[in-house]
Symmetry: C2
Subunit: 324 residues, 2 copies
Amino acid sequence: MGGDLGPHPILSAARRFASSHPQIDIILVAQLDALDISLLSNLPTNLSTFNASDIVLMDDTPATVLRHRQQSSMWKTLELVKSQQVDACVSSGNTGALMAIGRHLLKTYSGIDRPAICKPLPATNGRCYLLDLGANINCTAQQLEQFATMGAVLAQVAEGCARPKVGLLNIGEENIKGVEPVKEAALLLQQNEKINYVGFVEGDDIYTGNVDVVVCDGFLGNIALKVSEGAAKFLAQSIHRLFSNQWYGRFMGLLAAPVVNQFRAKFDPARYNGASLLGLQGTVIKSHGAANELSFYYAIEMAVRHVENQIPQKINAQFTNLYN
Amino acid sequence: MGGDLGPHPILSAARRFASSHPQIDIILVAQLDALDISLLSNLPTNLSTFNASDIVLMDDTPATVLRHRQQSSMWKTLELVKSQQVDACVSSGNTGALMAIGRHLLKTYSGIDRPAICKPLPATNGRCYLLDLGANINCTAQQLEQFATMGAVLAQVAEGCARPKVGLLNIGEENIKGVEPVKEAALLLQQNEKINYVGFVEGDDIYTGNVDVVVCDGFLGNIALKVSEGAAKFLAQSIHRLFSNQWYGRFMGLLAAPVVNQFRAKFDPARYNGASLLGLQGTVIKSHGAANELSFYYAIEMAVRHVENQIPQKINAQFTNLYN
């Protein structure tokens, strides 16, 4: 119920995913009487509905949600995860609410103070996993270390790299720079033999391929993500404008279309939709609120991969290993 | 003496600038006996040298510099600004040292606690001025308000916009979000009638053209700048790769060269070289350490524009106006 574009793209994506993946069962948890009934006709057999009598609003605070939204579609979906009736939840609703209900119902694994939001970004020779993206504004050094462990597990499993390189986002590579929790986290990570810690990295290292995981607090991570998205969108628009403004550009635009389309397909933000709420005892994927059908399809795919790869269980194993 | 590539590109840029601007006098402040003497032969008449017996090293801390580097080329240059023998200083050396010596010798104007580093970034329909870019890690609300005033003056004069739109960088547009000094700064800016404050902005707004000035602390600003640079470089390389990897791409690359070169010229980081140390009683421009000849040329040009446009004096006037 939470997408900026309403339930339509989510429903279409679910239909398409269910049709192409007959082995996967999808349950649409929704306030059914608020939906156009025609949207729900002729559902594939592996796509069913589950009625909820309430919804979480985009401006509900986490406190409001925990107190008053226990009948919402978001709450009901996470209850299905908790009772293991489903393996994963995908939502494009209120992030703070998803995090709060997720923590309340699913809990974090032992050794993990707070879940973190993590997303892969395209980088030279692969992908770079950035976390936290906004769940935790102020983080302790210990929390940053936990994020590093969780991000490394995800990069290892999802990208198949044996010892993912982990960096701490900072404003310079010298040890003297940076704020206190980041400096302390560096000391913890240097002593942590389970993590292939490569040191401080700067903002541009997200893209260089020098590291597989970049760790920072949620304030910084959210800014870094939005700046990235903004810069990419601006550059893409600028290229488009050059190829459509002048006669030579227009002519070239036609001829260059195959190359430009390849570029677009590779860096389409839709392909990078889906952020993982890591640290919870269950798979929870947050889709971008403005996700279209294709974007939401990728978010469902991400959830399936998390389940198949047992990401939560592997994170738990790493913490059990580390701290017990 | 401070560029990553040594003094050569700086000297070449100065030569070229002096030759094309006979009305401008340039003084090269350097440890002359460390330079290849042939570099200094046949200087244009408006390009002279000034000997310093020491240099600032890239890993000198501000404290070390203030105590031990009073004979350095950086110190001597800022002394020339202080004594008004020159109108501006351009340096590609140690940023922390430049800031420390600048504050020590030139002082900030009354009403300005700390100088801020500010740089224009390319945006839809113009440029966006981002500050602070790393001079101040932790900022009070008052300091953020001062940065807003300084950035607005620069945008007004340099871009000729009557009432530059100023935003505070945050992780959401809702008032409930963000860290304490940012929230307090929002209240101060709402009450400040001299500033056209438009509210919180997110990372992608740097590029949308919705704001002319984006204000944040130096930790955040430095990360935002580096992430932007990284994303832009990565995308440019990816395009280049597409246009050179396949036969159709290579063919297109040749044909599209005029358009791609136009794009490169427009977004060449060299063109955006030069950051202003705003708030000091004098013009100080920091060039990127890795600046090549063309980049450093643009930094000199920026210094000349600052002097011609009386940026420091106009910032002072704004503060006199505001606070007296």
